[in-house]
Amino acid sequence: MRSFRARKKISYYAANILLIASIIFIMIPIYWMVVTSIKTNAEVFKFPPSIIPLEPVLDSYRDLFVPENRYFLFFRNSLIVSVSTTILTVILAILAGYGLSRFRFKAKPKLLIMFLVTQMFPFSLILLTLYLFYSKLHILNTHFSLIFTLTAVSLAFSIWMLKNYFDTIPKELEEAAYIDGSSRIGSLTRIILPIVGPGVIATGIFVFITSWNNFLFAYTLTTSAEVRTLPPGLTLSYMNFMKVTWNGLMAASFVSALPSVIIFIVLQKWFIQGLAAGSVKG
């Protein structure tokens, strides 16, 4: 019995060492991004590379504020586009998800399939028509067209996540409210929304991150720096030259990653709850 216990203990510690080693391994690229961003130009192109920066400097971060780099212009555009897309998508998805979860009607399975299949459409193919469509309407290169496009991109998955979430909530709860005389919309906003909070937050995070990340649509549908979001903005301004300024690009990358990483860390608990209930079904 004793040897069994001892063996269990050894395997427990071995697994912990394995876990810590694996997590350190996974963190190496992130460490390298931060370390590169605080190196001087000379040190970035030094061989062999120094694992710990010899003379750490914040020059690359200061350069982000130089107006010619337009970093914070791109950053602001990214915020406008991602926040608007998130609000719009979440509202549309709450309504549709609720409708698809709570009511029975003939077209329902067909509608669900119609929404879900859009996940598989090749986005480059969609882009061709949208590009021509927007340029005809003279709304190419506007935040407006980008916001609607990105809404369509993440809407299907959001509806599906929220529909599954609504499914987990007993109908009796809102029936009581309904019988007490609240309207349909009233019972949705007062009774259901507070309960599905984690699901709504999880969906919101999903949409925000998807929009903040979007490269393909933002790269193609914006043509001037005033409108560009971070992904195309950084690609075009830092990689347009023969030699990439790696410390500058890594500093810009690091700051660009902050919003989604912070949102993630702060809202982690809700996200995992929402994901668990919304997308993990036995």
Binding site: M33, A96, L125, M250
Partner: protein, 299 residues
């Protein structure tokens, strides 16, 4: 129960009303473009002039003369398959390590999520830098460990470029799999493990005979999602290799983008895309089967 059915049936028109806005957005921005590309595929479009000629099947005939089409078609499928398998292995590895009684569990889980939370284009920039021929960390480490004799040009060779793209992609996506698996472990009845332990099953046996069968559906569903999402991959490839060398890492989206926006031949791009849509349509039948099986789509 009967009463509630009556209550809910009456409100069909209300249901349709609140679904309508989402329906319109998806129709206009997803379905209209797909159907419009059917007509585009039979046209030669003069970019920027708003003019076009009908050219019949020419765009489709050209596809079969185009060596890039088959190259990108097979690479897209191989990329999807390899990355799906690797995501299952890596995701499960971390989920199992985290699914134990350990101190700082939430902290470890939070750290592990960071690669998923960093923007995808940032991840691509980061890997481009890690893979740099002269100053990249990966070459440096591999040379120190004597795995490589001298630094290699990852992006220059077609096999190494493929490995590079897969590494960068897996790195970004695996935390999603870990999260889903971790959540699915919570649904398993603890008594099953107790019973298995009494029967003398070790950890490995417990994993294959208790855990895996219990979460089989979730594993299949997640693999399917991974596979579908791999088709939508653009920036990892575009930023790291631009689809090169000579189209070796050009995936479906990159190929369509090149045809449409680099060659400015929207008709050819639409024809290529439509062949994909047909393929994906067949594939989506499998996808929907799984969803029906899970009970996500019902009445």
């Amino acid at each position: 129960m009967k009463k509630s059915n009556g209550l809910y049936k009456k409100n069909t028109s209300f249901a349709l009303k609140i679904i309508l806005p989402a329906f319109l957005v998806i129709t206009i921005f997803m379905y209209y473009p797909i159907f419009n590309s059917i007509t585009m595929a039979f046209q030669k479009i003069y970019f920027g002039k708003g003019e076009f000629d009908w050219i019949g099947l020419k765009n489709f005939i050209n596809i079969f003369k185009d060596p890039y089409f088959f190259r990108s078609f097979s690479w897209t499928l191989i990329f999807g398959l390899i990355s799906t398998v690797l995501l299952l292995i890596v995701g499960m590895y971390f989920a199992l390590l985290l699914n134990r009684e350990i101190p700082f569990k939430n902290f470890f889980r939070g750290i592990l999520l960071i690669p998923w939370a960093i923007p995808w284009f940032v991840n691509a920039f980061l890997w481009l830098w890690l893979l740099d021929v002269q100053y990249g960390l990966i070459n440096h480490i591999l040379v120190i460990l004597k795995i490589l004799k001298e630094p290699i040009n990852w992006i220059g060779g077609s096999d190494t470029a493929k490995i590079a793209v897969i590494m960068a992609y897996i790195y970004r996506v695996f935390p999603f799999n870990t999260l889903v698996y971790l959540a699915s472990f919570q649904t398993i009845d603890k008594q099953l493990y107790e019973a298995a332990e009494i029967d003398g099953a070790g950890k490995l046996k417990q994993f294959f005979y208790v855990t895996l069968p219990q979460i089989k559906n979730i594993v299949i569903f997640t693999a399917l999602l991974n596979f579908i999402w791999s088709f939508q991959e653009f920036e990892t490839v575009w930023i790291i290799t631009k689809g090169g060398p000579v189209g070796a890492t050009s995936t479906l989206l990159v190929r369509l983008y090149d045809l449409g926006f680099q060659n400015r031949d929207f008709g050819a791009a639409a024809a290529n895309g439509l062949l994909w849509v047909i393929f994906l349509f067949l594939f989506s039948i499998i996808y929907l089967r799984v969803l029906f099986f899970r009970g996500d789509i019902d009445n």
